[in-house]
Amino acid sequence: MFNIIKIVFFCLVIWVGFAAYTLVGIPLIIPAAPPVEERLTGEITMEQFVALGDRVFHGKGTCTLCHNALLRAPLLDSIGAEAEAILKDPRYKGEATTGEEYLHESLVHPSAFVVAGFGKKGTNDTVSPMADVSKGAIALSDVEMDAVTAYLQSSAGVDVTVALPSGDAPVEEEEVAEVKPAENATEALMKFECSMCHTHPLIEEGGDTGPDLTPLVTRAATMKKGMSAKQYLVEAILDPNAMIVEPDTYDEDTMPDDYADRMTVTEMNMIVDALLGKEEKKEGGE
């Protein structure tokens, strides 16, 4: 009997050890909640429509699974601006005649044009590994694809030519009005999409359009003469063009300058504290 107890104890120690390693040694990644189909319930402005495209792009569309800094697929930061040029590329084999049509076509017929080096293995860049996003697991609706197209045009800085959805597909006014304030720095960083451009320990998968925010914990105090670390960071968030870090690498006007209107003071303080490494106790348990 004593042997049985020893064996049971031994096995339990092994298994609890494995579980503990999983809990402590592995970063906690919370899988995205099952996507909800975007429903429009009222009149919609272009700004809201682009925001909807942004949500679909980073959420249900799962675009960033591949179109990210790891370059599983090409980055789409400027695709809205490049779409017209692609139509003239001799390798283009689609039927679009405008940039907008091409962007929509690339969602449902990704092989119409494959960026060099990103085709399926052995196809000489003639077949895209990307799936038709209107079908399968992603299954975007027409409105959602239009919203993504609008978002891609907007994020590339070109005029949005996509027509707004008709009256029978109204806006989700209630949902737009119900934007909740972030409860911690991680949420705030996600809410204001800092992860799209920046990397930071609190950001699961960051972009590289903007500088890495990690070193700010030690460098913020010396970034601008006469400013404390906190003063500098507040300015950098509210007036991002006041000083461009590494102007050769990062462009002006890339970072939104309307955070003063969109961000609460609490949210801004949470972000600043996080960048200065003062959020450890709160974030440590996450």
Binding site: W15, I26, L65, A131, A137, H200, T214, E280
Partner: protein
């Protein structure tokens, strides 16, 4: 066949009976070849059986005049027209779009957790009772051919252990079916509409398997005449395995369909061709992966059983017997373990080919970190396997010549293990991040990439194989003067050195080339490992022609702690199976049937890794209690038998 074994061991078993135990590397190799050939036969016959099933499934399952499918799997116009005639005629229908309210709530029960626990327990037992009869049958054949009664006795004991497992497997299978019907009625309705015919065959196969299980087990002694009756018994064993494998491939088709559905129209409606639904892109990779894994798992559990009996043994004879049994089981588990990654690669490749999104979710998304845990678990398996082999040197008489190798081998294995599970990115606070100087540590960061890991895992396999070779020759000495007897070891040292240098050089080189090329370098590294193992084994066979046994193998001369490495092996396997089950099922994300039938229940979310780890631990704990019960049952039967007077004929001759 070459007679290359030269170790003879005498072992007292039971009431003064003596059994001669032969052991040598050559013998092991011959046995391994025999095992592989036999496994090939079983899988081949099972595939043939599957093809027969396929023929019967090609015809539409529903009214034949209603909905034939054309060669492309599309519903024909006739079928559609017929579908409009009336409700009695079947027509393809897409899966329903469910709401959360469509999922019944049973007070006090959490549907997903309940199904998770019961399904995993069912799979644990199923893997065991499907794996054990395979190698029991093979061992019985080995005993029949070699006329060595020890194998027959061991095979009988293995199947005895598995007998309780059959009823537990069936019980959990029944419970799972009922739970699915209660908690997920719409899903089950859809699955039945697609697989109804195979489900009926599945249920009928239970009777077939039961018939062969009982005749095989209860007919063991009465058919053990070494002649025609024994051959009939072997035929029963073969049929037991074929029926078991058929059950497995049928149920695999349902799981594979849920991951990569086939035989459906664009809207997810079943087109009527059951074979098209069964023969999906993941079906055969899953069949092969589970077939091999079942053998490895069965071996590890019987090794744990033998270890348990070894620890509990009160006589030297029993210790010797269970030590030998534990070693054979351990050998089976390792033989099953080594090809498993290759079957896993095939399955993963097919997942990627089917859906790149699913593939990236698996390896580059939410589940990517799971593979670090998998590396830790497999590392634990390797560590325990090596430890067991090193302890096994105590059984031999010439081990002192090789003991100096244990320490360096241990260091290499631990180092390789540490490299293998070093993550590329680390979990750090902002302060730690600034102290480290970024998201990647300057020293540990480079060890986290595949360049280092490929080298580490190949060194791990090579070191394990070297440990095994060390053990296999530790009871022999060179007496011949042939070329291989004199130079075999030196050539092997050169071979290992060249192999290790090549693996390390490729690893270092891969730091300096693009990722796409780097991935390709893993192939020559694996090929190097395989070449070293195969060539070293052949050299050992040639060398053994000029060797002889130093003395008899001292079975039973193992420290108690060595047996805990067998528990470690079985425990790691079990937990790993549970974790990978979560992974396989989880990559469907919020779909009952991927991209076709959405899960809209309140628990459609993908659980986090720690949550899954907790669940797996809980399930393993329940499984442990049940497995102890399973091990206890044959002991209870043996105890009863011992209390009764034994007729002379029952005493086994040595």
């Amino acid at each position: 066949m070459m007679q290359i074994d030269s170790i003879k061991l005498h072992l007292c078993l039971g009431a003064g009976c003596s059994v001669s135990i032969k052991n040598s590397f050559g013998k092991m190799f011959s046995r391994a070849v025999l095992i592989l050939i036999s496994l090939f036969i079983i899988s081949g016959i099972s595939t043939g059986k599957s093809s027969f099933l396929a023929d019967s499934l090609v015809s539409p399952v529903f009214a034949s005049d209603a909905q034939p499918a054309d060669s492309d799997g599309e519903a024909t116009a006739d079928g559609e027209a017929a579908a409009e005639e009336g409700p009695s005629v079947w027509a393809p229908a897409p899966p329903p779009k469910l709401e959360a309210s469509d999922y019944p709530i049973v007070e006090g029960w959490n549907a997903r957790i309940s199904v998770w626990i019961v399904a995993q327990l069912h799979l644990f037992f199923a893997a065991f009772v499907l794996g054990v009869p395979i190698f029991v049958w093979v061992i019985e054949i080995v005993g029949f051919i070699t006329k060595d009664n020890r194998y027959d006795r061991m095979a009988h004991e293995f199947i005895k252990v598995a007998m309780t497992g059959f009823s537990l497997t069936a019980s959990f299978g029944g419970l799972l079916s009922i739970m699915l019907a209660v908690f997920y009625p719409d899903f089950m309705e859809y699955m039945v509409s697609v697989f109804g015919k195979t489900m009926l065959i599945y249920a009928l196969l239970f009777f077939v398997e039961s018939f062969f299980v009982y005749t095989y087990y209860y007919g063991w002694d009465s058919m053990n005449d070494g002649g025609k009756k024994k051959m009939l018994h072997l035929f029963l064993g073969l049929m037991l395995n074929i029926s078991g494998m058929s059950l497995m491939v049928l149920s695999n088709s349902w799981a594979a369909f849920m991951m990569a559905p086939s035989g459906l129209g664009a809207d997810g409606a079943f087109l009527g061709n059951v074979w098209a639904a069964v023969n999906g892109p993941l079906w055969n990779p899953l069949n092969l992966h589970r077939f091999i894994a079942n053998i490895a798992y069965g071996g590890s559990l019987t090794a744990a059983y033998a270890a348990f009996k070894f620890i509990s043994a009160t006589t030297p004879e029993d210790r010797a017997h269970y030590d030998w049994m534990g070693y054979q089981s351990f050998f089976i588990a390792i033989v099953g373990l080594l090809p498993l990654p290759f079957a896993g690669y095939w399955l993963t490749k097919e997942i990627y080919d089917y859906s790149q999104q699913m593939g990236i979710t698996l390896m580059g998304g939410v589940f990517a970190w799971l593979f670090i845990i998998q590396a830790v678990l497999i590392g634990a398996v390797f560590l325990s396997a090596n430890y067991y082999i090193w302890c096994s040197l105590g059984r031999t008489n010439g081990a002192d010549r090789y003991k100096f190798m244990i320490q360096p081998l241990g260091l290499v294995i631990i180092f390789a293990f540490l490299v293998w599970f070093t993550p590329h990115t680390l979990v750090m606070t902002s302060t730690e991040m600034s102290q480290v100087g970024g998201t990647h540590h300057s020293v540990l960061g480079p060890l986290g990439v595949m360049a280092a890991k490929n080298g580490a895992v190949n060194l791990l396999i090579l070191s394990t194989f070297l440990s095994f070779q060390m053990f296999s020759r530790s009871n022999t000495e060179v007496v011949g003067t042939g070329f291989w007897a004199k130079n075999g070891t030196a050539i092997q040292i050169g071979l290992y050195t060249a192999g290790i240098v090549n693996i390390l050089a490729l690893s270092i080189w891969s730091y300096f080339i693009p990722a796409a090329l780097r991935i390709g370098l893993s192939i020559p590294q694996v090929v190097t490992t395989l070449i070293v193992c195969v060539v070293a084994m052949i050299i050992d066979m040639l060398r053994n022609r000029g060797t002889r046994d130093i003395a008899e193998m001292k079975w039973g001369n193992m420290p108690i702690r060595s047996q805990y490495s067998l528990f470690m092996l079985a425990g790691s396997f079990t937990w790993l199976m549970g974790l990978m089950g979560y992974c396989r099922s989880g990559i469907r994300q919020h779909w009952h049937v991927y991209t076709v039938f959405r899960d809209n229940s309140t628990e459609a979310f993908t659980p986090t890794l720690p949550y899954a780890a907790g669940m797996v631990t809980l399930i393993c704990a329940i499984f442990l209690l049940l497995i102890l019960f399973m091990f206890w049952m044959p002991m209870l039967a043996s105890k009863k038998k011992k209390e009764q007077p034994q007729p002379d004929s029952a005493v086994e001759a040595g």
